[in-house]
């Protein structure tokens, strides 16, 4: 089959692949220790299920998948867990991450394996579970858990399975060598995927600069219905979106997934890992990694245990640290440089590039953009990189989004061609991070606003409840008083005369006065000044009313963001103090009377 379409732009950087394909894949020797970061994939980091000091067997699970989108880890060899600690990890940010460290015992004793030659008979779920349990993630670079990707929802129809064998980045030959040497395993892995996804069409997309691999695949696929599609060498044809366009003439909608247009895309290395896991019961404990660059005496591909320190691998390839200008994990276009050769090889490490300074000179200082448009010509997403650069520099985030910054796949083609050597991709990365950060802040502010409103509501409700309770109490107190007074009145004839200081006596006096007032006899009560208790009561209720009013004003001020809020807050405080004092006074008067 011929490719159906081309994508816009693309570049032809020097390939530099020949030097690492001279020798076949070699098994890398066992290092002194293996360092396995818990986060080697997209999704939640794995959760360790071993303790330091524990003995583990080769292939034994040492960390489990923490959530639905996560992947377990397995011991790449038998040995002792020597630590679970922070170590430098291969990540663009150059930081550390929690790792399980294994000291190999050199015996390579395997844990029991669950090989399943008759996988055709397994139900789909079980097959997916096996892939998931083997810790397989996309080996092409992103590291998305394969079981999640292959286990698409039943309402999504996948009509095309694409196997990404383009390997378009310069220098990298891991997939190339894998296809040359293990074409049968590639096909076997694809068959398992076919069983899982039931696509109508299966296409292997491979660049025409790998004739040996193409021949091997063609021989291995035979008349299985799997089509090997040779595509012109053009960077970045191995980008998922670009490959889909080339092979199907369909475009993944912006912000969407290949599944939205009926396509599932898997890397060839992943297909082999699936074969190993299902047919041989071998979890993902090793991968093929290209070690190359002019500071290595003999560039070649290694089958490496996951967790092997990069420095160990470089030593095998005859690395001369003095000649090396920087260490790049991945290819020269999209790889990132790491400050430390102690970082381990992880599941997604397809290449270690150790170039000399002459080989990949550091960029000259950037000059002004001359709007030559070469970047727009090269951009595989049909963006206008020079406009994005302009807006990124002036921090115009709205314009950046309007010019589809988030459709940029960070392939670096624009930076590659820019004659003013402007680090365009760096600007885009920074802007994307800024925009994401702002978005998070907006979301947080929104949440805070909601919280504040909820609190306001709660406070208003509580105030209303308090008020209701207070009224109820007041009513109850009044009723009780009345009842008591009635009782006193009834009891009076029998009651002994008490000294004036006696509270009972006082109550009687009060009741009498009250009754006198009620019956219109003003001589007893109305002519006298209000009692201290009455005064205190009055004070408390006025203060309460004022406080309620002040609280309300304060709440309004806060909600409306008025400047008076602070002043009102102190008013509320003062009133609260006054009220407390008044209540205390009331109590003492009650005690006195």
């Amino acid at each position: 089959m011929k490719p159906l379409a081309t994508f816009h732009g693309g570049i032809h950087p020097p390939e530099n692949k020949a030097q690492s394909t001279v020798l076949p894949i070699a098994g890398a020797s066992l290092p002194d220790e293996l360092v396995l970061p818990l986060s080697q994939h997209i999704g939640a980091p794995a959760r360790p299920c071993v303790e330091p000091g524990q003995q583990v067997l080769k292939g034994e699970c040492i960390a489990t998948a923490a959530t639905a989108i996560s992947a377990p880890l397995h011991a790449p060899t038998s040995g002792t867990i020597s630590a679970i600690e922070e170590r430098p990890v291969p990540h663009p940010s150059g930081g550390t991450g929690l790792c399980i460290v294994i000291r190999p015992d050199g015996e390579q004793r395997w844990a029991p394996r669950h090989a399943c030659a008759a996988w055709q008979d397994l139900p789909r779920d079980q097959l997916l579970a096996q892939i998931r349990a083997a810790g397989i993630v996309g080996l092409g670079g992103a590291g998305f858990p394969t079981a999640v990707k292959a286990g698409t929802r039943p309402d999504r129809i996948i009509d095309t399975l694409i196997i990404n064998a383009a390997e378009c980045e310069p220098y990298i030959t891991a997939d190339d060598m894998l296809m040359r040497e293990r074409a049968a395993a590639v096909v076997s892995g694809i068959e398992i995927l076919r069983h899982l996804v039931q696509p109508a069409t299966i296409l292997i997309g491979i660049e025409d600069n790998k004739p040996e691999a193409i021949a091997a695949l063609q021989a291995a696929t035979g008349n299985s219905g799997i089509q090997v599609v040779t595509i012109p060498t053009l960077y970045p044809s191995g980008g998922e979106k670009q490959l889909i366009k080339i092979l199907t003439a369909r475009e993944v909608p912006s912000g969407g997934l290949p599944a939205d247009i009926g396509v599932l895309c898997q890397n060839v290395g992943t297909a082999v890992a699936i074969h190993d896991a299902v047919v041989e019961g071998r979890p993902l404990i090793s991968r093929i990694t290209t070690v190359t660059g002019a500071s290595c005496q003999q560039p070649r591909n290694y089958e490496v245990l996951i967790g092997t320190p990069v420095s160990h691998l470089l030593a095998l390839a005859g690395w001369d640290a003095k000649r090396c200008d920087r260490l790049i994990i991945g290819g020269p276009m999209m790889g990132f440089s790491v400050p430390d050769a102690a970082v381990p090889v992880v599941k997604t490490t397809n290449c270690i590039l150790a170039p000399t300074r002459e080989e990949l000179p550091p960029p000259p200082p950037a000059q002004a953009c001359i709007r030559c448009g070469l970047c727009a010509e090269a951009c595989p997403a049909s963006l206008l990189p020079q406009q994005l650069y302009w807006f990124a520099r002036s921090g115009e985030h709205d314009k950046l989004e309007a010019h589809h910054l988030f459709d940029c796949i960070e392939c670096g083609a624009c930076s590659y061609v820019c004659p003013s050597s402007i680090p365009l991709v760096q600007y885009y990365r920074a802007s994307k991070a800024e925009i994401r950060h702002k978005q998070r802040e907006r979301e947080q502010a929104e949440r805070a606003r909601q919280r504040f409103e909820a609190r306001q509501e709660r406070m208003a409700r509580e105030a209303a409840e308090r008020e209701a309770r207070r009224q109820a109490r007041a009513a109850a107190a009044a009723a009780a008083q009345a009842a008591k007074a009635r009782a006193d009145a009834e009891a009076r004839p029998e009651a002994p005369i008490q000294p004036a200081a006696d509270p009972v006596q006082a109550a009687i006096e009060r009741a009498r006065a009250l009754r006198a007032g009620q019956t219109g006899d003003s001589s007893a009560a109305s002519s006298t000044a209000p009692s201290p208790r009455q005064q205190a009561e009055q004070k408390v209720s006025t203060l309460e009313a004022r406080l309620t009013k002040a609280r309300k004003r304060h709440e309004e001020a806060v909600a409306g963001g008025e400047k008076t809020a602070a002043a009102l807050a102190s008013v509320v405080e003062k009133l609260e103090q006054q009220l407390a004092a008044a209540r205390a006074e009331l109590e003492t008067t009650e005690e006195q009377t």
């Binding site: 994508f7 816009h8 950087p13 009509d159 039931q198 109508a200 369909r250 475009e251 993944v252 909608p253 912006s254 939205d260 247009i261 396509v263 090396c324 200008d325 920087r326 260490l327 020269p332 276009m333 999209m334 790889g335 990132f336 440089s337 790491v338 400050p339 430390d340 590039l353 170039p355 990949l360 200082p365 000059q367 002004a368 953009c369 001359i370 709007r371 030559c372 448009g373 070469l374 727009a376 010509e377 595989p380 997403a381 049909s382 963006l383 206008l384 020079q386 406009q387 589809h404 459709d407 960070e410 670096g412 590659y416 061609v417 004659p419 003013s420 680090p423 991709v425 760096q426 990365r429």
Partner: protein, 349 residues
């Protein structure tokens, strides 16, 4: 062991901005040779003045703006501006004219707008138009071509260039260009004009046709080196040719000249391959470049035919410089994954 860390990509292409500018300079060489052959050493004198002023002004402006002088001078963009203005001016133009032109180009059109890359208008064309409006006499004093038998001698040229030549002498050795003649002519057949005036060569005017062909060759060289795409120059030439063909009546006095005449006359090829393709001031996208070039072609014809100026390229370019942001706005390319996507075939086989 600590390694240095850099951001991807770690690989970059060989083309640099300075290299682009150097190639552009190189591509003007055939045109300069043709100009010198046909109009005398006056062009070389123009170039010498213009380049000296350009470098001096550029350095002064960079110093005022506190930018590293050597770094920015090395991009050669000031020299490109100087060369483009120098070849557009009448050969052996007085030095002060060139100085004023370079001042307008480098100081006003370039640095006051923020320097290289930020200028909305083509600096060389700004310089040209400022001079044309301020000093129409000097700007229309084009020297006669070799074919007329009145080629300016070296001494005369130097005298003129140093502004020492008396006005009478200047007038004596000034000749209208074919474009001027065609516009001024009102009573004869074009063929008669051809015969009466030694300025006319075979297609576009004596000397002029060779100058234009030389600039065309330089332009094709740049095209082959992928310094720019074909869209803007081809659109401009096509539009100009189409306009000329539409208004050409086979040679009566009122005719505007044949497409061939327009292609090979005046600053057509210089404009098409060295001015219209100026990346900084033109439209960005492919479609935008087509529109931009075509509009310039149409305007060039309109101004040449109905306007009042000896050539129209500068005005047309400046007008479209002004319109370029709008063209850009309306010709954004369709980004991958936006619209026009084809869904999965819903039936499973």
């Amino acid at each position: 062991m600590a390694q240095q860390t850099l951001s991807s990509p770690h690989l970059r292409g060989a083309l640099t901005t300075a290299r682009v500018m150097q190639l552009v300079l190189l591509a003007t060489v055939p045109g300069i040779i043709a100009l010198t052959w046909h109009f005398g050493i006056g062009t070389l004198l123009n170039l010498a003045w213009a380049c000296s002023f350009a470098v001096a002004l550029e350095a002064a402006m960079l110093r005022l703006r506190k930018r590293p002088i050597g770094f920015y001078l090395s991009d050669c963009s000031a020299l490109v501006t100087a060369v483009l203005l120098a070849v557009a001016l009448p050969p052996a133009a007085p030095w002060w004219l060139i100085a004023v032109g370079m001042l307008a180009a480098i100081v006003f059109a370039k640095h006051l707008y923020g320097g290289m890359g930020y200028n909305p208008f083509n600096p060389a064309m700004v310089g040209y138009v400022v001079l044309l409006i301020s000093f129409p006499v000097q700007m229309t004093a084009w020297v006669p071509p070799r074919e007329s038998g009145a080629l300016l001698g070296a001494m005369e040229a130097i005298q003129r260039s140093l502004a020492l030549a008396p006005q009478a002498q200047i007038d004596a050795v000034t000749m209208a260009t074919p474009l001027d003649l065609l516009r001024q002519n009102s009573a004869l057949l074009i063929e008669d004009l051809w015969q009466q005036n030694p300025q006319f060569g075979q297609w576009g005017g004596a000397g002029w046709e060779w100058v234009n062909l030389a600039f065309l060759a330089g332009g094709l060289f740049l095209l082959q080196r992928r310094i720019f795409t074909w869209h803007a120059p081809v659109a401009m030439l096509a539009a100009l040719g189409l306009m000329a063909a539409l208004f050409y009546d086979g040679g009566s006095s009122a005719s505007g000249g044949s497409p061939l005449f327009h292609w090979l006359s005046g600053a057509t090829m210089l404009g098409a391959f060295f001015i219209v393709t100026d990346p900084v001031t033109s439209a960005v996208s492919t479609r935008g470049k087509l529109i931009y070039g075509a509009a310039i072609g149409v305007l060039v014809y309109l101004i040449r035919h109905w306007g009042n100026y000896p050539d129209a390229v500068a005005f047309a370019v400046l007008l479209l410089n002004f319109a370029a942001p709008f063209i850009d706005y309306y010709t954004q390319p369709r980004v991958y994954g936006h619209g026009a996507t084809r869904p999965a075939e819903r039936e499973k086989s």
